[in-house]
């Protein structure tokens, strides 16, 4: 990502920008960290891994809570009605917070969500079962060209990150495949391993989890994932597909700017912890540091990209 940036740089920017008044002692007590999904998912696992490092750095804990429902919208639609004192923060996800409001009235708009820091993303990965006759991305494209629409690809959810990846890649490669949405990564993986589908649009984390049971044809990263040296990127194979599902931390709009920057600073320091990075990368995540300084440009770019795709896919509400 173009937004990968040195932590020190962020810290310097924050040191210049942040006045000391309100945020001097922040955090002085446990911070409630609301995950708008159920426990056990990638957002939850990430938060669980952040918690000990956050505690080590600040001396205060993160109390992880869940407010699941409507694919995250149940939480996000209430974010701005929560106390803006820095002690209530919420996990935010892309493309969810851009796509959901485009699709229907979910009780919030993309710009209502104040994300202070994007800390990682799970890059999209195109996977086939290990015993599949499709050995490479070239085989895949050839097979799809020979019989358009017959290749079935499982993925998690409709109009989700996996679904977007499928549409984007079909367009880039000039092919037509059939996307079969499943109710989560688990069922989608089951269909993949059981040869119920020809392949799957998953994430690098899925590849890490399923290991040698699957073969990865491509990952949507700038460079190969450090823990997956055998997974070629789409870029090196000539397709400009970079992205995936991004995770960040948001706050109620009323949260003072200095508290926001202090929170972003702490999250950046969590992201720089070597042990944390190791665990994240072993989980298949790709590190990312988008703090307040780059937030505007980053959000403008992803919004433009997703909105264009959403229009093409016909999911924008009338």
């Amino acid at each position: 990502m173009a937004f990968r940036i040195r932590t020190t740089f962020i810290a310097a920017a924050i040191a210049l920008a942040a006045p000391l008044a309100f945020s001097a002692g922040y955090p002085e007590k446990t911070v409630n960290y609301i995950i708008p999904f159920g426990p056990g998912g990638e957002s939850d696992i990430s938060a669980r891994l952040q918690e000990p490092v956050y505690k080590k750095l600040t001396g205060q804990g993160l109390a992880i809570q869940y407010k699941a429902g409507a694919g995250g919208a149940a939480g996000w639609s209430q974010l701005n009605s929560m106390a803006g004192d820095g002690y209530t923060v919420m996990g935010t996800n892309l493309p969810h917070i851009v796509l959901q409001p485009l699709e229907k009235d979910v009780g919030y708009k993309t710009d209502d969500i104040t994300t202070v820091f994007w800390f990682h993303y799970t890059p999209d990965a195109l996977l086939v079962p290990a015993d599949s006759p499709i050995k490479s991305l070239k085989d895949f494209i050839d097979a799809a060209k020979k019989a358009p629409g017959t290749i079935t690809l499982s993925g998690s959810g409709t109009n989700s990150s996996n679904h977007l990846a499928q549409r984007q890649f079909d367009k880039l490669a000039g092919i037509k495949t059939t996307y079969v949405p499943f109710g989560g990564t688990g069922p989608s993986n089951t269909a993949l391993l059981g040869n119920q589908v020809s392949g799957s649009w998953g994430y690098t984390s899925v590849q890490m989890q399923l290991g040698a049971q699957v073969r990865c044809l491509g990952v949507s990263m700038e460079q190969r994932h450090p823990k997956l040296p055998n997974c070629p990127t789409f870029k090196e194979q000539g397709f400009n597909l970079v992205g995936g599902a991004y995770r960040g931390v948001g706050v109620p709009k009323s949260t003072p700017a200095d508290v926001q920057t202090k929170l972003a600073d702490t999250l950046a320091r969590v992201n720089a912890d070597p042990e944390f990075i190791r665990k994240m990368e072993e989980g298949g995540f790709a590190m990312l540091n988008v703090g307040p300084a780059q937030m505007g440009a980053f959000m403008a770019e992803v919004k433009a990209r997703y909105e264009a795709l959403a229009k093409e896919m016909g999911i924008v509400k009338k």
Binding site: G69, S77, V106, G186, G211
Partner: protein, 501 residues
């Protein structure tokens, strides 16, 4: 494979303590309507991060199996499934309690749960890698047929008229469609209520549909909730053992059904106990007694749902695919612990895996004394507490339970509205179970149908996709059998009667 070493490792004082504490906590959480096994596991997860992996797994497995069992208390004593897994336990458990056999029902449930749990864990210990492939053979189409198979149970529930059962099932199917469609993303039956986008939550629907009518009736009628037919002094253990001995085939069949359904990632304890219940009824010579307080119904449901615990761990550990919703959380906890599940886990991490499995078996055994004691306490309390205290306490629990689903007041509103509606239609002869079956199975069947249709369409043959796969054909056979059996049995009885007469 040095199993004995792992057994000894599981027997360490700390592991035993964790198993005991987990089972007790799980049983209590499961017994409270609305607090499910998934929540019990989720609450415990943060505490396990500082533990050794095997100890963490034992604690999680113990609370999980305890919670699945605990659901039986509320099912038997309050006619409200404590967790979705014990829906089928209400069918005969509550009628047993009504006629004064609540203590017997609780003991039978405890024994059946322990044996079911042991059989499920036994499969996990001995046959996990080969059994895991079952999970992979089940495609979308198989889930569709499995959902339909579950729906045929409506016809055989046997309470009230079949037509009303079918109408109730249809209502449940409609309720299952509310919200954003999982496959396709269409918005259905939401109106102007944004809170309905997430759909009707099964747990809050369960509480409302089962518990609220019971509460209203308690207030509206002067009779006591349950009458103890005798001095509640014994566990009626010998009697319960006798029943289980007589029904050993039922226990075995239900446990195997529970294990296999547990392995299937798209189904869980509720489906397992429903399928086991319907098979037990079909096979039983006392078929007509089912639904009226037949212990075999409780046995089938409870042995099957506890067998899903061991069964669910099979794909979780072997394939990295959670077999049941609590397994998904446990899988997340394993990732945080830095344990990679997958085919190599059983060889590379054998000490952790086998210590855990032995720990799960021990936890299941601990459930026997713990369950009997808590069961007697719960039965005595429910019988002894005056209605004026019982009703407000249970009412409070229903609100807490449905709030806990998503920490949200919407589920409480849904629960109360559905409950009052259920009471209303209940007076017209509609019972809650067909509605709940429709709600749970509708989404499974719909999802499977749409996915199967997409795949079949892409492959160029929708009919072959739905009808030509071996497992599908087997399930279709059972559906046809289930639908024709009552007719055939009645005919045979008529012929036999004619011959004798």
């Amino acid at each position: 494979m040095g199993s004995l070493d792992y057994l000894l490792a599981a027997l360490s004082p700390l592991n035993l303590l964790l198993a005991l504490a987990g089972v007790v906590a799980g049983t209590v959480i499961g017994a409270l309507p609305g607090l499910t096994a998934t929540m019990a596991v989720a609450v415990l997860v943060p505490f396990t991060f500082s533990m050794e992996p095997a100890a963490a797994l034992i604690a999680l497995g113990a609370i999980y199996t305890g919670a699945i069992y605990g659901g039986a208390y509320a099912a038997i004593l309050l006619n409200t499934p404590g967790t979705p897994s014990s829906i089928a336990t209400t069918f005969d458990g509550f009628p047993m309690a009504r006629r004064g056999d609540g203590d017997l029902a609780l003991t039978v449930a405890c024994l059946a749960s322990v044996i079911g749990g042991l059989i499920g864990a036994g499969f996990l210990l001995l046959l996990a890698p080969p059994m895991a492939t079952v999970a992979l053979r089940f495609g979308p189409v198989e889930y569709f047929w499995l959902g339909l198979f579950g729906l045929t149970l409506i016809a055989s529930l046997g309470e009230g008229s079949t037509i009303k059962g079918l109408i109730g099932g249809g209502l449940g199917l409609l309720l299952s469609m509310v919200g954003v469609a999982e496959v396709g993303g269409d918005i259905r039956f939401v109106g102007d209520f944004k809170t309905l986008l997430g759909g009707i939550d099964v747990v809050s629907a369960l509480i409302g549909l089962y518990c609220i009518p019971v509460l209203i009736d308690l207030v509206a009628t002067p009779v006591a909730h349950l009458e103890a037919s005798r001095q509640v002094a014994s566990f009626r253990l010998a009697e319960a053992f006798g029943i289980l001995r007589r029904s050993r085939l039922n226990v075995l069949r239900s446990s195997v059904i529970g294990t296999i359904v547990g392995i299937l990632p798209g189904a869980g304890g509720s489906i397992a106990s429903l399928v086991a219940y319907s098979e037990a009824k079909r096979a039983s010579p006392r078929r007509a007694q089912f639904g009226k307080g037949e212990p075999d119904g409780v046995i089938a449901s409870e042995s099957a749902n506890n067998a899903t615990v061991g069964g669910g761990f099979i794909p979780t550990l072997v394939l990295g695919i959670p077999g049941t919703p609590p397994d998904a959380i446990i899988l997340g906890a394993l990732l945080v612990q830095g344990i990679r599940t997958g085919p190599t886990l059983f060889t590379q991490q054998a000490p952790i895996v086998y210590t855990f499995i032995w720990g799960l078996i021990l936890a299941t055994l601990i459930m026997l004394p713990v369950g009997l004691l808590i069961g007697r306490f719960a039965f005595r309390s429910i019988v002894a507490i005056p209605k004026a205290v019982l009703v407000p306490c249970v009412a409070l629990l229903t609100v807490l339970g449905s709030f806990a689903v998503h920490n949200n007041v919407h589920e409480v509103q849904q629960m109360v509205l559905l409950g009052v509606a259920a009471w209303g239609v209940g007076r017209m002869g509609f019972s809650a179970s067909p509605i709940v079956l429709g709600l749970i199975l509708g989404s499974i069947a719909e999802r499977g149908f749409v996915q199967g249709h997409l795949i079949g369409n892409a492959r160029g043959s929708i009919l072959a996709e739905f009808f030509a796969r071996p497992i599908s054909m087997a399930i279709i056979f059972f559906i046809v059998l289930g639908l024709l059996w009552p007719w055939w049995a009645a005919r045979r009885a008529r012929i036999a009667e004619a011959r004798h007469g």
